[in-house]
Symmetry: C2
Subunit: 307 residues, 2 copies
């Protein structure tokens, strides 16, 4: 594949940025990839494992001369980083991000983008419960969606080029309006994460009663919740602080439905429960058909010797 | 390995029973395994795929002469099956089950166990979102817990033998009191499943608004919920109907915690959120250390070429 951006700068070197680096290298679509992380330790690890062609000592140094700058920091940190790098951004360059919330990022970053620099927000729908510079792998974005969230006045060439970049990293891309993005993600990602965090917290509270049995005997349902609830705390704090309205709206609907099921349990209404559970099963099939997951047994844990 | 039970009868041929059959064959611990399922279609599939040495036309026929009978039907069906097979149970035989709730099963089954037959309830903590006779695989129980729930007057030899049986299927075993079992499972499995069902139901409601985007762009959190919510509806209906008290208690605590987090979001209390999310992360580590899961990235989806 040919080079899409001569110089790419990755600001923040966690799971997403490190996966992007390995995927960029796999695809051969950038001349040089620079990187910066605020923490000395992260930069040291990055240098040790060969993450980025050049690890810089400041965000500005990393962004100087870059054709694409990708902000890979928690949502609430985006504005400060944008203000910092603003003076060194190259005319004609594109600034993008990978934040899980888009309206708040646009509000924070757009004011710092100089004339002649393109701002094209994006959100790759991919992740694991791991974090940090060592957690990335080139295949993270393969066959996953990357939502491109241009502003109404975004430069079409800049948008198309960013789409080509994400496709080269393995993703499918689609354009979406920022507010709509935030609502869809509140349903599919933000509220589920909050619920998983809550359930794991409840279990931990109970653990005092049941002497660590909750962990020892954690069955499928709870194990999956703990995976979700192990995700990066700073990233998720910022998500809930910045996508407040949509998350609270979905939480309201969730509580309503939960109370209806709770009543069915209390009154012994087995038909209601069975009907509800049958219905949700069909949704799973839709997700598999949409190519967003496999139907491999045991929640993706490969049964040894059967694949 | 040598034979532990000369004749084993599996009543109900879904995910658990079919996995037990393949694991029994792998271990070589039974002379003959008979099987029965109520549905003609299930019995036909079982015969077609070689599930069970002999598929019988009635539960009684399958249980005649069996040294171990394992009830692998939904919890609410256990009592009827026990009443049906009661007259043909062999003196000295053991009756067990694999139900996710134990107190209700004991109440329903114990009255039908004749003198001289041992009843030793059990619950293998293993499963996938798949169901039916074709969904089983020999490795399902490997390194998972099987909780053995003897009654106070259970025959010690019968209990020890059943423990040896489950160990031969790959499980670790531990004994637990029935009521305690039901509380622990309400926390680790039953309530998480109900919550996942609820969230998936909410998303489906929203889908009408967002034109299938909820499925198309379902990110990690929601994808895992749909896996959980795709589990067998009948099995789960019965779980909630029969473990009502413990589930409702845990649901009450869950709602309390959720409301506290909801308020933190509404008031913008980032410290509270960050502290909570950091705390839940530690629980995940406990689970990995307890050997109940791996820390493979992306919720167990193997990153291609990295393992």
């Amino acid at each position: 594949m040919s080079v899409i951006y001569d110089r790419v700068a990755l600001i923040g070197l966690g799971l997403i940025a490190s996966s992007m680096f390995w995927a960029i290298k796999r695809a051969g679509i950038a001349g040089e990839v620079t990187g910066f992380a605020r923490s000395d330790e992260t930069r040291a690890i990055a240098r040790e494992i060969g993450l980025c062609d050049r690890v810089c000592e400041s965000a500005r140094e990393a962004c100087e001369g870059a054709d694409l700058v990708v902000l890979c920091v928690p949502v609430c940190a985006m504005g400060d980083v944008a203000a910092d790098i603003s003076p060194v951004l190259k005319p004609g360059a594109t600034v993008s991000d990978v934040g899980s919330v888009k309206r708040a990022v646009i509000d924070a970053v757009a004011p710092h983008i100089p004339d002649g620099v393109h701002f094209v927000p994006a959100h790759p729908l991919a992740g694991t419960e791991q974090s940090g510079p060592g957690s990335g792998f080139a295949e993270l974005f393969d066959n996953r969606w990357c939502l491109i969230v241009p502003e109404p006045d975004s430069d079409e060439d800049a948008v198309t080029r960013l789409e080509a970049f994400w496709k080269a990293l393995g993703s499918n891309t689609e354009r979406m309006d920022a507010d709509h993005h935030d609502l869809v993600l509140a349903v599919t990602s933000h509220t589920p994460h909050l619920i998983a965090y809550t359930m794991v917290g409840v279990a931990d509270d109970l653990r005092r009663v049941t002497d660590s049995e909750v962990i020892k005997y954690s069955a499928a349902g709870f194990r999956d919740f703990t995976r979700i609830a192990a995700s990066d705390p700073t990233m998720w704090r910022d998500v809930f602080l910045t996508n407040k309205e949509a998350t609270l709206e979905i939480l309201g609907r969730f509580t309503e439905e939960l109370f209806a099921l709770q009543r069915a349990i209390r009154t012994g209404d087995g038909d209601h429960l069975h009907e509800y559970f049958t219905h949700t099963r069909a949704i799973r099939r839709g997700i598999i058909e949409a190519g967003q997951d496999t139907d491999a047994p045991d929640f993706g844990r490969a049964p040894r010797g059967k694949r």
